[in-house]
Amino acid sequence: MLLKDEVEMLRRIPLFSGVAPAKLKLLAFTSDRVSYRAEQALFRQGDMADAAYVILSGTADVSVDTPNGLIKVAEVEHDSIVGEIAILCDVQRTATVTASTPLEALRISKEHFLKLLSDYPEMTIEIMRVLASRLSHTTAELSEERSKH
């Protein structure tokens, strides 16, 4: 896959949809293309976070370590980004992400990702929008849960 195809894919991700194509090309160029076999982990819960991953093709399972073993909590597929939270707030990985099919991803290092945010405020706003919508989603779920009890 070429740089320009990657740019096309990045544009489909909501987080990057507001960013100019030239900047996306730069982001793609400075990121590493990595491929994973099925069952291979992108990262594990508890690791220090050093990069975020944009999934270009394939699917991956997000699972969390619990006292009862590893529990799958979500599935991610192409055009989605994983691992960005941990590099934003400098915490350990909160979940393990494992490829469930052969997977291609763009690995954006923490340093580059943060640099991008400071260079392009429109991206920061987009990130805030995504995070805020997730938060409101979670809050809604939580209040729903509470009202049940």
Binding site: L3, E6, R33, V34, Q40, E104, E111, K115
Partner: protein, 904 residues
């Protein structure tokens, strides 16, 4: 050391001095004969005195002496020669005398030179020997660069002086006295005048030179301090940069240089003043002869012939006299230098030479406990570190010393290692003070490691085995010219008072390390390296280094097997794509275009990529295949892409790290080039412009840069050019280009590249890390792990071990102490640079696993963290310089004392 240089020289070289004096005396005979001969030649055969009659002959070379009791004895009757024959004969005698005089001079100078060089060698060795025997406290006061400059520069003139020390005054004094006596014989009063002036010269000039000598002494001191400061700047460069004090250092150096300049300028001025006065005094004598002698002659009290003879004789006086005064000057100068140096090396409490005597035989195990008896230690300022401590460490016991830092534990450890000498009390083994035991016992049976590990310039192996090099253990057999050279070396060493220990011998004491020789050394080295957790670092060093195929043939000869095993294990684990192998007839997409073209490596430093690209043969291959145009067009595309991506970014932006084929500074240059060349064809570009564009293509890797520039057709063309390049490779390139060959070890590539024989795929997640793990397993499986460690140990650690990290140095320092297999191993907070977790792990490894195979030394460990004290048999708790608690971990915990406080 002897305070007076003259006495030092005499006591070490008196026989040689007497011999050379005798030779000098003997050389005077032909010297004076050659003075007389010209007169004989001119008067005899040339002017014809004695050959008045036609066909007259004269006797030549009659040797006849009058001896007591025998009367006249004729040794040789002599030859009867005609005038012409006589001329030739006497001329030949003259020539012979010239040759003999020359040979005497040659012999004397060589002899004196050798004498001086031996003396220099002796002094230097003696000084270094003293440094090796300095008490530890001395090293807190001296600067290493100052010592080095004293040994190297300041004693140097002493060598030159040695040869002249006695010969010169005897020779010149004799000449001067002869000339003076001759003048006195001609005319007593004129002789007295000359003698008077000589006396004035002899008194005044040395006086004036006193100041010169004082200035010389200052020059020596300031120069020594300068080199001390230069050494400090080099050693402390990190601190200087870190504090922006480089200008402070500049000011300091400038001030010192200013002082040195003023001293040297004073010296210079004064020297020429003295010279002027000296010359004046020498010239004033003829003035007195002309004036006074002239008046006397006018008055008729002096014969004119006598006056001329006196003036003639005086010509021979100033020369020797001046040289004599110069000799005296250099004598005093050298004497002062010598005294200066000796003063620095005459240190109290020098270690007795017997304590450091060479011991070739193995030293038996210690069989007694290590005792501190009423020990009091203090630091340089006199502050008490430890007061009246008595304790006993038994053989085989593991002891933890705990306490806050500065509570005395470190000082005790240093005292056990003889680095800190007690104020009172002593440390004994079997009742003997360890300071009086030979180092061959304490240095072999006691091991010590602290955090300030020192590493010598050399390989890791040299440094790791340093603790085993006590004496030359093998006798090296030399043959032929080498044997002669070796004998000569030994003889010279003895003549200069140097030891004759052979550095080429194998000094490593394998036996005390618990092995039989170099071949099974790794059976003990590897567990130790594993215990200090450094073997992975060493394997990584090996993977990054080029391998000497001569010394590591055990691995390099199995390279084909290794490569195949790697392919197989990758295949077994379904990791085929991790490494893309080099195939002679296929393009390797994970390698650069340049690499694909070359399909080999260049031998640096004889050849570089840039030089190769400029080579006419390489260019002709590119031209003939038409690749130059393809690569040029490709380079233009790459430049356009790179500029589009990066032109707006500030030059220090972190994204530039990803731009492998250009730097931020190149961007404007390529921008201009692109404006000029885009849309025009290949011929429009100048050769320089072409190569800077083509250069970009050489570094291009499609899967990494992903510009979509590499077509199947182009790849085929590149492979084709590769084959053509190697087919007719000219000899000069054959010598420096090593082609990739699956059956051969590539000497100019590192071990990693050799084993992979391919490139790790760029899209492989964590490729390099995974490969390293796989390789480590592979080496182990094939029994090559020790060989790889051995390659890693060839790594040059640099000056002071600075090429390896502080963490690695501290780990290796512990390993070095363990390898000695001593009876008492002392660890004085040896690993502060490591994480607490790793420190604890290493401590566990050493205490629990390392000594299972039998050898179990007593371990005394000064702990930085008391949480692991439970691993030890016994715990000593220090507080403010005294031993407050002593017992097992459990009993101390029950006691509710200081230890419990420390642990919680």
């Amino acid at each position: 050391m002897e305070k007076s240089l003259t006495r030092y020289i005499w006591s070490n070289t008196r026989f040689q001095q007497i011999w050379i004096l005798t030779v000098v005396a003997a050389s005077m005979v032909p010297y004076f004969l050659s003075f007389d001969l010209p007169k004989q030649i001119v008067n005899g055969p040339i002017q014809g005195t004695g050959f008045e009659a036609e066909g007259a002959t004269q006797t030549f070379m009659r040797i006849q002496y009058t001896l007591p009791y025998f009367g006249k004895v004729m040794f040789f009757e002599g030859l009867q020669l005609t005038r012409f024959q006589m001329l030739m004969a006497l001329s030949l005698v003259f020539l012979l005398l010239v040759v003999i005089n020359g040979l005497f001079k040659l012999y004397i100078n060589t002899y004196k030179g050798r004498l001086g060089e031996r003396m220099l060698r002796r002094i230097r060795f003696e000084l270094i020997d003293r440094v090796l025997r300095f008490p530890p406290s001395q090293f807190k006061r001296v600067k290493s660069a100052e010592i080095a400059t004293m040994i190297k520069d300041e004693v140097e003139p002493m060598g030159g002086f040695t040869g002249d020390a006695f010969v010169q005054p005897a020779l010149l004094g004799g000449q001067a006295i002869t000339a003076l006596v001759f003048i006195i014989l001609q005319n007593f009063w004129l002789g007295m005048i000359a003698a008077g002036i000589v006396a004035v010269q002899g008194v005044v000039i040395p006086r004036m030179r006193k100041k010169l000598l004082e200035l010389g002494r200052q020059r020596q001191l300031t120069a020594r301090e300068l080199s001390g400061r230069v050494g400090e700047i080099v050693d402390g460069i990190g601190t200087i940069h870190g504090n922006d004090t480089s200008n402070y250092e500049r000011a300091d150096i400038a001030a010192r240089l200013g002082l040195i300049f003023s001293i040297r300028y004073d010296l210079y001025q004064w020297k020429f003043l003295v010279k002027f006065i000296n010359n004046f005094l020498a010239q004033v004598t003829p003035f007195l002869f002309y004036s006074i002698g002239g008046v006397l002659a006018l008055q008729g009290r002096l014969d004119i012939g006598q006056l001329v003879a006196v003036i003639n004789a005086y010509k021979d006086l100033p020369g020797p006299l001046k040289e004599l005064i110069d000799w005296d000057q250099s004598r005093q100068d050298v004497q002062i230098k010598y005294a200066q140096v000796v003063e620095q090396f005459n240190v109290d409490m020098l270690v007795d030479p017997r304590i450091q005597a060479v011991v070739h035989d193995p030293v038996g195990k210690l069989e007694h406990s290590l005792n501190a008896v009423n020990l009091t230690l203090s630091d340089d300022s006199g502050a008490r570190l430890v007061e009246h401590v008595s304790l006993e460490i038994k053989l085989g016991e593991t002891v933890a010393i705990v306490g806050t830092s500065g509570s005395g534990g470190e000082a005790i450890a240093e005292a056990f290692a003889r680095l800190l000498w007690p104020d009172s009390g002593r440390i004994t083994i079997d009742g003997k003070d360890i300071l009086e035991l030979p180092e061959s016992i304490t240095g072999r049976r006691i091991a010590y490691a602290a955090s300030d590990a020192y590493f010598f310039h050399g390989t890791l192996r040299d440094n790791l085995l340093y603790g085993l090099k006590h004496a030359p253990l093998t006798k090296v057999e030399y043959e032929g010219a080498k044997a002669t050279k070796y004998k000569w070396n030994i003889n010279e060493a003895r003549l200069a008072g140097n030891p004759d220990l052979d550095l080429n011998s194998d000094w490593v004491d394998y036996q005390s390390a618990g092995v039989t020789g170099p071949h099974d050394l790794f059976t003990v080295v590897r567990p130790v390296l594993e215990a200090v957790m450094i073997s992975q670092d060493i394997v990584d060093l090996a993977l990054r280094s080029q391998v000497d195929t001569a010394t590591h043939a055990d691995l390099t000869s199995r390279i084909v097997e290794l490569r195949q095993a790697l392919r197989k294990s990758l295949k077994d684990e379904d990791l085929d794509g991790l490494v893309v192998p080099f195939e002679p007839k296929a393009y390797n997409p994970q390698a650069t275009i340049g690499e694909n073209l070359l399909f080999g490596t260049v031998k640096r430093p004889m050849m570089t990529n840039l030089k190769l690209a400029a080579h006419p043969y390489f260019r002709s291959v590119l031209r003939d295949s038409g690749l130059n145009i393809d690569l040029y067009n490709m380079g233009l595309e790459i430049a356009a892409n790179a500029i589009e991506l990066f032109e707006d970014l500030p030059p220090d932006h972190p994204f530039f790290q990803q731009l492998t084929f250009m730097t931020a500074d190149d961007i404007p240059t390529y921008q201009l080039l692109l404006q000029k060349l885009q849309g025009r064809d290949f011929d429009a570009a100048s050769p320089d412009e072409r190569s800077s564009i083509i250069r970009l293509s050489f570094a291009y890797i499609e899967p990494r840069h992903r510009f979509g520039l590499l077509t199947d057709e182009l790849m085929a063309k590149i492979v084709d050019a590769r084959l053509r390049f190697h087919k007719n490779l000219p000899d000069d390139l054959k010598a420096v280009v090593e082609r990739y060959d699956a059956k051969k070890f590539i000497t100019s590539a590192n071990l990693m590249d050799n084993v992979l024989f391919g490139r790790i795929g760029f899209t492989q997640a964590d490729g390099p890390e995974r490969i390293r793990v796989i390789l480590r397993d592979l080496f182990d499986k094939l029994g090559l792990y020790d060989s790889v460690l051995s390659i890693g140990l060839d790594f040059d650690v640099g000056s002071g071990g600075k090429r390896i990290t502080n963490v690695q140095r501290q780990k290796l320092n512990v390993a070095r102490a363990l390898l000695k297999r001593a009876d008492y191993v002392i660890f004085n907070r040896p690993l502060p640079a490591l994480d607490q977790r790793v420190q604890d792990q290493i401590m566990r490894n050493i205490l629990q696993d390392l000594h299972v195979e039998g050898h179990a030394p007593a371990i005394i460990w000064v702990l930085a963290n008391s949480s692991l004290a439970n691993l030890f048999d016994r715990v000593l708790v220090f507080d403010r310089g005294t031993l407050v608690e002593d017992g097992t971990h459990a009993t101390l915990l029950e006691k509710n004392g200081i230890f419990k406080e420390l642990v919680s």
